[in-house]
C-alpha cells in the first residue's frame, strides 16, 4: 500500500520560544524533515541607519548599543573605530587597553550566553543557561562600575572611553578571572562529555568552508568550518598585536564545532585580559580620551572599519560630507550575514536540528533587523 503524504508548511515565529526574538521561518516539512526553509526578517526594523543620519557622531553611540544588545560594548567599539579612522583620531594608549579588557569581557559574556541558549534549544531547559547567567551577572557588575549601566552601556567614546577605570574595578576583575577558571571547568564537565549533546550536535547543521566564505560568514561560525580568520590577528585593529592568543578553529562546520569554538574563545579572551591587565599596570596613568572638538566634523570622505565582534566581523561604513552628522551610516551586522546561510545548513535535516542550528549561529535580532 502506498500512503499519500503531504508537505506541511509551518510558520515558525515571529512568536516562538526559540527564535531568539522575532525571527520568522517559513518551513516546509515532510513529516519531521525540513524540505524548504525561508527566513523572513524585519520584524524588529527600527530604521537605525536612517535615524543616525540626523544625529551627531557622538549621539550615534547609543544606537550602537541597541544593535547587538548582548554585546553592546563591541558595537560601541566598532563604531568608534570607524569614526576614528574617518577623522584620523589618535586614541590614548590607556584607553586602548581599557577597550581591549572591556571588549574581551564582552566576548566571554556573549559566548557564554550563546552557548547557554544553544544548550537550551537542545532541550536542557534552563540549567546550563542559569549557570552562565551567573557568570554574566558578575561581568555586568563590572561594566556597571565602569559605565553606570547594566545593559546598554554607552561606554566608548570617539577617541577613547568615557571614564577611566574605577578604583574597585581591577581587584574585582582579578577575582572574577581567578574564579572563572573553576566555573569554566564546571561548564565543561556538565556539557562537553554529554552523549546526548554530542549526538545531537556532531554532524548536524553542517556548512562547508567554501560555502561559508561565499556567504561572507565571519566569527565563530566561519572558524568552525576550519577557516583560520580572525580580525584581531589578521587586521590587528586597536592593540591586539601586543597579546599572545590562539585563534580557535573547528573542522567540520557543524553545531558541535561552533559550540567548541565558542568555548575555546572564552578561554582565549581570558588569556588576553590577563595580559592586558599586566601591561596596563606598567602603564603610567594618563588620559583616556583624545582631545577632540565638542562637535566633530570629519573631513569629507568615507571609511569602513571592522572589528572582530563576538558574533563575527562587525563593521561600520561611514560617509562624511564635512558636517556634524554622517551622510551615510551603514552597519555590517555579523549575525545578519551569518543568518543568511541558515537555509543551506538546515534543509534536509530534522525540525529539531533546525532549531539547534539556528541557535548555534548566535544571532541577536536587534542587530539583524536594525
Amino acid at each position: 500500500m502506498v500512503m499519500k503524504t503531504e508537505l506541511v508548511t509551518l510558520n515558525m515565529g515571529p512568536h516562538h520560544p526559540s527564535t531568539h526574538g522575532v525571527f520568522r521561518m517559513r518551513v516546509t516539512l515532510d513529516g519531521e524533515v525540513v524540505v524548504e526553509m525561508e527566513p523572513m526578517f524585519g520584524y524588529l526594523h527600527r530604521g537605525l541607519e536612517k535615524l543616525a543620519e540626523g544625529r551627531t557622531y557622538t549621539q550615534i553611540i547609543p544606537f550602537t548599543d541597541r544593535l547587538d544588545y548582548v554585546s553592546s560594548m563591541a558595537g560601541n567599539l566598532a563604531y568608534c573605530v570607524a569614526v576614528e579612522k574617518l577623522a584620523q583620531v589618535e586614541v590614548p594608549e590607556r584607553a586602548e587597553y581599557i577597550r581591549v579588557i572591556i571588549c574581551e569581557l564582552q566576548r566571554m559574556v556573549n559566548h557564554l550566553i550563546a552557548v547557554g541558549f544553544f544548550i537550551n534549544d537542545l532541550g536542557a531547559l534552563q540549567t546550563p543557561l542559569q549557570y552562565m547567567w551567573r557568570e554574566r551577572e558578575k561581568v555586568v557588575d563590572l561594566f556597571e562600575m565602569q559605565s553606570g549601566q547594566r545593559f546598554l552601556y554607552n561606554y566608548m567614546r570617539i577617541g577613547g572611553v568615557s571614564h577611566d577605570l574605577a578604583p574597585e574595578f581591577i581587584p574585582a576583575l582579578k577575582k572574577f578571572l581567578d574564579d572563572f577558571i573553576g566555573y569554566y571547568e564546571e561548564f565543561e564537565d556538565l556539557l562537553k562529555g554529554n552523549e546526548i549533546i554530542q549526538s545531537r550536535t556532531i554532524g548536524t547543521g553542517v556548512i562547508s568552508a567554501e560555502q561559508a566564505i561565499d556567504y561572507a560568514m565571519s566569527g565563530p561560525c566561519l572558524r568552525a568550518t576550519g577557516v583560520n580568520w580572525d580580525l584581531r590577528r589578521d587586521d590587528s585593529y586597536s592593540i591586539y598585536d601586543r597579546f599572545d592568543f590562539d585563534v580557535i578553529v573547528g573542522e567540520n562546520g557543524d553545531n558541535w564545532d561552533r559550540y567548541r569554538v565558542r568555548m575555546g574563545e572564552i578561554m582565549q579572551s581570558h588569556r588576553i585580559i590577563r595580559q592586558a591587565l599586566e601591561q596596563l599596570e606598567e602603564l603610567s596613568p594618563g588620559s583616556v580620551n583624545a582631545e577632540l572638538p565638542q562637535l566633530l566634523r570629519p573631513p569629507v570622505g568615507e571609511a569602513y572599519a571592522a572589528i572582530e565582534a563576538p558574533k563575527g566581523e562587525m563593521g561600520f561604513y561611514l560617509v562624511s560630507d564635512g558636517s556634524i552628522a554622517p551622510y551615510r551610516w551603514h552597519c555590517r551586522a555579523p549575525d545578519f550575514v551569518n543568518l543568511c546561510a541558515l537555509r543551506d545548513m538546515v534543509v534536509g535535516g530534522k525540525i529539531a536540528d533546525l532549531i539547534v542550528t539556528f541557535g548555534s549561529i548566535d544571532i541577536c535580532l536587534a542587530s539583524v533587523d536594525r
Binding site: E32, L122, G123, L125, L190, R200, G203, G349, I351, D353
Partner: protein, 380 residues
C-alpha cells in the same frame, strides 16, 4: 442489593490502616464498601500527591538551577500548586474555531482516566489497594497505560494546529518504540517472581529486583521517562521546537487536565517502578505506607534530576535507541534471566553481583558498537 447503611457499617472493615489485608476477603459481601473507599481514596490521594509532586519538583529543581523556587505562597511555597490550580480553573476556556470540537473536548478527559485506572492494582501497603492482588495486574498496567497515546493523538489531531500535529505524530512514533523494551523489562520481573500480581511481585522481593535485575530496572526506568514525556524524551512537548506539542491549543481546565494527567502519570510510573523493582512498601522501622511514599518521591526525584541535567534526544535517535539498543539488550537480558531462573529457582543472593557485572559489560559493550552520531538522513 446493598443499602447505604450496609456500606456505612461495613466501611470500617475496608479501612486501609488496619494491619489485616483487606483484599484477602474480596470479593465478598463488603466489596462495594471496599470499592467506594478505595476509589475515593485513590482519587483524593492522587490529587494531593500531584500537588506535592509539583511543589517537590519546583523546589527540588530550583537549587540545581541556582534559583530559590516558589517560596511566597504558604510555608516554603507549599500552597503554590493550590494557587496555580485556582488560577487555571478561572482561566477562559478557548476552543479554536477550526478544531474538531468533540475530539478536542474528549482528549483531556481520556488522558486522565487510564492513569487513574492503573492505580487500581498498586499495593500501597501489604494487601492494601483497590485490587492489589489482581492476577493479571502487570498486564493490566501495560494494557491500560497504552491508551494514553490515543488521548495524546486525539489532542494533537483535534486541535487542528500544526505544532500539535507534529507532537501527536511524535507520540505515536515514540510509543511503538519504547513500549516494547518496557514490556520486555517487565517480563523479566514476571519470570523471576513467577506472578503477574503486583502484590505477589512485592512479596517475592527478598532482594529488591533493582539489584537482582539491574538491566530491566534501567530499561524500565528509561522507558518510563519516555512514557512520561520527560527529559531526555520530552519530544512531545519540546518547548524549544514545537512549543507545547499536542496541548498547545488547550487552556483553562482542559490544560489543567493534561497537567494533572502528566503528574498523575509520574506518580503511577514511580509507583510501578517502586513496586516492580524497589520492593514496594517493604522497609525497616518506618510504617510500610511511609516507605512507599519515600520511595515514590525518591524515584520522582531521579526523574526531576534528569530533567535538570540533560538535553533532549531527536525523534529518530530515540527510535534508533529503542530499536537498536534497548530491544536487543532486553531480549538478551530476558534470556539470561530465564536461564538463571531455571538453574537456581529460589533466587540466590550471589546472583546480584553477577547480574550487575553482566549488565555493566553488556550496556557498555553494546554502547561502544552503537553510536548515534551524525546528522539525520535526508528524506528518511
Amino acid at each position: 442489593m446493598i443499602s447505604l447503611t450496609d456500606i456505612a457499617t461495613q466501611a470500617p472493615v475496608a479501612s486501609w490502616w488496619l494491619d489485616s489485608p483487606v483484599s484477602s476477603d474480596w470479593p465478598c459481601h463488603n466489596f462495594w464498601a471496599h470499592w467506594a473507599v478505595f476509589s475515593a481514596g485513590i482519587i483524593i490521594g492522587v490529587l494531593l500527591v500531584v500537588m506535592a509532586f509539583i511543589w517537590f519538583e519546583r523546589r527540588f529543581i530550583a537549587p540545581m538551577q541556582l534559583r530559590i523556587g516558589p517560596n511566597r505562597c504558604g510555608p516554603f511555597g507549599l500552597l503554590q500548586p493550590v494557587a496555580d490550580a485556582i488560577k487555571v480553573l478561572m482561566k477562559e476556556d478557548i476552543v479554536p474555531a477550526v478544531a474538531d470540537k468533540t475530539v478536542h473536548f474528549l482528549a483531556p478527559i481520556l488522558i486522565f482516566v487510564p492513569v487513574l485506572l492503573m492505580f487500581a492494582v498498586i499495593p500501597f501497603q501489604n494487601g492494601v489497594g483497590l485490587i492489589p492482588d489482581l492476577n493479571v495486574g502487570l498486564l493490566f498496567i501495560v494494557a491500560v497505560g497504552s491508551i494514553e497515546t490515543v488521548a495524546v493523538f486525539m489532542a494533537g489531531y483535534g486541535s487542528n494546529n500544526k505544532y500539535a500535529l507534529v507532537g501527536a505524530m511524535r507520540s505515536v512514533a515514540m510509543m511503538v518504540s519504547y513500549e516494547m523494551p518496557m514490556a520486555l523489562a517487565a517480563i523479566a520481573v514476571i519470570i523471576v517472581s513467577g506472578t503477574l500480581s503486583m502484590q505477589g511481585i512485592v512479596m517475592e522481593q527478598s532482594v529488591p529486583f533493582a539489584l537482582l535485575l539491574p538491566m530491566s530496572f534501567i530499561f524500565y526506568f528509561t522507558c518510563a521517562l519516555a512514557e512520561l514525556q520527560r527529559t531526555p524524551f520530552d519530544l512531545l512537548e519540546a518547548e524549544s521546537e514545537i512549543i507545547a506539542g499536542y496541548h498547545i491549543e488547550y487552556s483553562g481546565m482542559k490544560f489543567a487536565m493534561f497537567y494533572l494527567g502528566e503528574y498523575a502519570g509520574a506518580i503511577i510510573q514511580s509507583a510501578i517502578i517502586v513496586t516492580l523493582f524497589l520492593s514496594g512498601w517493604k522497609g525497616p522501622i518506618l510504617p510500610p505506607f511511609v516507605w512507599f511514599l519515600i520511595k515514590l518521591f525518591a524515584v520522582f526525584g531521579m526523574i526531576v534530576w534528569f530533567r535538570a541535567t540533560w538535553p533532549r534526544v531527536r525523534i529518530d535517535q530515540l527510535m534508533e535507541f529503542a530499536w537498536k539498543y534497548m530491544l536487543p539488550l532486553s531480549l538478551i537480558n530476558l534470556l539470561i534471566v530465564a536461564i538463571e531462573t531455571i538453574l537456581w529457582d529460589p533466587v540466590q543472593w550471589w546472583l546480584v553481583p553477577v547480574n550487575i557485572v553482566i549488565t555493566a559489560v553488556l550496556l557498555t559493550g553494546w554502547a561502544g558498537m552503537f553510536k548515534l552520531r551524525g546528522g539525520s538522513e535526508v528524506g528518511a
